[in-house]
């Protein structure tokens, strides 16, 4: 019956979802890939996946985490295919890089960061494996549990990745770590 046809007449649900999540999907993708054109492609792919898969989603209450999960995974896939960044999760290498950067002394740095743009530039330097949880936590305001769900990893891993990302950021900003642990 055409009146209830999903394709023809029943797409208000999708319009609602699109309107609600367009902002976060696009900017989450952008903050992961830092490329406007790629973020556009990712957004398009994400919403088409949502359209095709929404009715298979059994737990509709978890739609936010589901959408962000698709966004993150699509972004990682796109980056991998573009080969523009290290997101193959060579964890050993990534942790070595993080440790090198964390041990970097801000006093010796020529970087003086106070503006928000500069904070974002530092965030963009953080490897994806640590930056993506930061984006989900601060920009999308997901809980640790939701991020764990989204990234398919234990909550403890989420906490440590966010902590390490912040630690790196603090060092680069020259902040007192002890006064700002959260």
């Amino acid at each position: 019956m055409a009146f209830f046809s999903k394709k023809e007449d029943g797409n208000d649900w999708f319009v609602d979802i699109y309107d609600k999540y367009e902002y976060h999907v696009f900017w989450t993708a952008y903050m992961i890939v830092k490329n406007k054109d790629l973020a556009k492609d990712i957004s398009q792919e994400v919403f088409i996946k949502i359209y095709n898969s929404y009715f298979k989603l059994k737990n509709k209450d978890a739609i936010s985490a589901w959408i962000y999960r698709i966004t993150v995974n699509t972004s990682i896939n796109v980056i991998n295919s573009e080969k523009k960044n290290v997101v193959g999760f060579d964890v050993e290498e990534i942790n070595r890089v993080i440790e090198d950067r964390v041990s970097f002394q801000p006093e010796e740095s020529t970087i003086k960061t106070e503006t928000k743009n500069e904070i974002m530039e530092i965030i963009y330097q953080i490897p994806d494996i640590h930056r993506i949880p930061l984006i989900l936590y601060y920009f999308n305001e997901l809980s640790y549990k939701e991020i764990a769900h989204c990234l398919h990893c234990p909550i403890g891993t989420v906490k440590s990745r966010i902590h390490n990302g912040k630690k790196y950021l603090r060092n680069m900003l020259g902040k007192d770590v002890k006064n700002d642990i959260g």
Partner: protein
């Protein structure tokens, strides 16, 4: 301004760099072949929404009453029992959503756990618990051991254990978990047990020599966890080379579910079993547990674990199995 606020503010500021390209919307709705505008519904057009909604609510309530009167939950229980013949001890009562754990017996076992894990395997484990997963830590310098098992009608029971070099232990990464230093030897204890007996996401850290054992657990007593750790402490050879199940785990999960499973949601039991059988694996249902106890994975696949060719597959399936409360 705190760093938290600075990060949030910087990310919000980032979104002001430019407008979201309007052609995304056109491309999305063009691709799926529908209008991107919200259609004014029949209900809205004729202002019938309230009336129809009331009628629908009445029908739904009437239907629910009918279901409660005529539809016995025993039918669903029998369905589950018939579909998955099993030892009754392995089926647990569930609340709301369900988890079904399928134990898959692989014909192509590639790992021999006894060769490389014996030295680390605890002599003591709480009853019905088994080693279900081993992997390297992210830095590759430590070992992760997961134990699981659900006897009787207890909620999900597990121990997640990390054995790591002391220098890799970062107490700051555990901030927020109520870490307290118990003594000068570095014994840390972070336990939550609301009823004073059963751990709920409890964790314990032991320091011995140059090694830390960090254990999280749920559904077991504090003593059981301590005894498990004690029994592993006796070993002198920590951190040996060991087999990492991750690659096999990924291969199996991709084969069974497809690489895009995250976009389509979890499979139902029939689909999962079909995939398993296509892989030529034997399987048996070993337990059902409430998804509500699976921290972080409510309503979705929780993951896969492999040991000695045994795959533990967690699948939600609200369609075929609904056990009575």
């Amino acid at each position: 301004m705190t760093l938290d606020n600075e990060i949030k503010s910087a990310m919000l500021k980032e979104t002001e760099k430019f407008e979201i390209p309007s052609d995304i919307r056109e491309r999305v709705f063009g691709e799926i072949g529908v209008s991107g505008k919200r259609r004014k519904s029949f209900w809205e057009t004729y202002n019938l929404k309230g009336l129809v909604t009331s009628a629908l609510i009445g029908i739904v309530i009437g239907g629910m009453i009918t279901m409660m009167v005529f539809y016995s939950p025993i039918k669903e229980s029998l369905y589950a029992q018939e579909k998955f013949p099993q030892n009754s001890n392995t089926v647990n009562k569930v609340q709301g959503s369900e988890y079904v754990k399928l134990q898959l017996l692989s014909a192509n076992s590639t790992n021999n756990i006894e060769e490389d894990i014996t030295k680390l395997y605890p002599k003591y484990l709480p009853s019905n618990m088994k080693l279900v997963r081993r992997a390297k830590t992210e830095d590759g310098k430590g070992i992760i051991l997961d134990f699981s098992g659900n006897p009787d009608d207890s909620p999900l029971r597990y121990i997640h254990m990390q054995i790591i070099p002391k220098e890799m232990f970062n107490i700051e990464s555990h901030i927020g978990e109520n870490v307290t230093l118990e003594n000068n030897k570095g014994f840390l204890e972070t336990i939550y047990y609301p009823d004073g007996k059963t751990l709920e996401m409890g964790s314990i850290s032991y320091e011995m020599n140059d090694t830390i054992i960090l254990a999280r657990a749920s559904g077991i007593s504090k003593d059981e966890l301590l005894n498990t750790i004690d029994s592993i402490k006796e070993t002198k050879h920590l951190l040996p080379d060991h087999t990492d199940d991750s690659a096999l785990l990924e291969t199996v999960s991709n084969k069974i579910l497809g690489e895009d499973y995250y976009t389509s949601g979890p499979p139902n039991i029939d689909e999962a079993i079909k995939g398993i059988e296509e892989l030529g694996l034997e399987y048996e249902l070993v337990s059902i547990m409430s998804v509500e106890h699976a921290e972080g994975y409510d309503g979705t696949i929780s993951g896969f674990t492999v040991r000695e060719g045994v795959v533990f597959l967690f699948v939600t399936d609200s369609k075929s199995i609904k056990l009575p409360k």
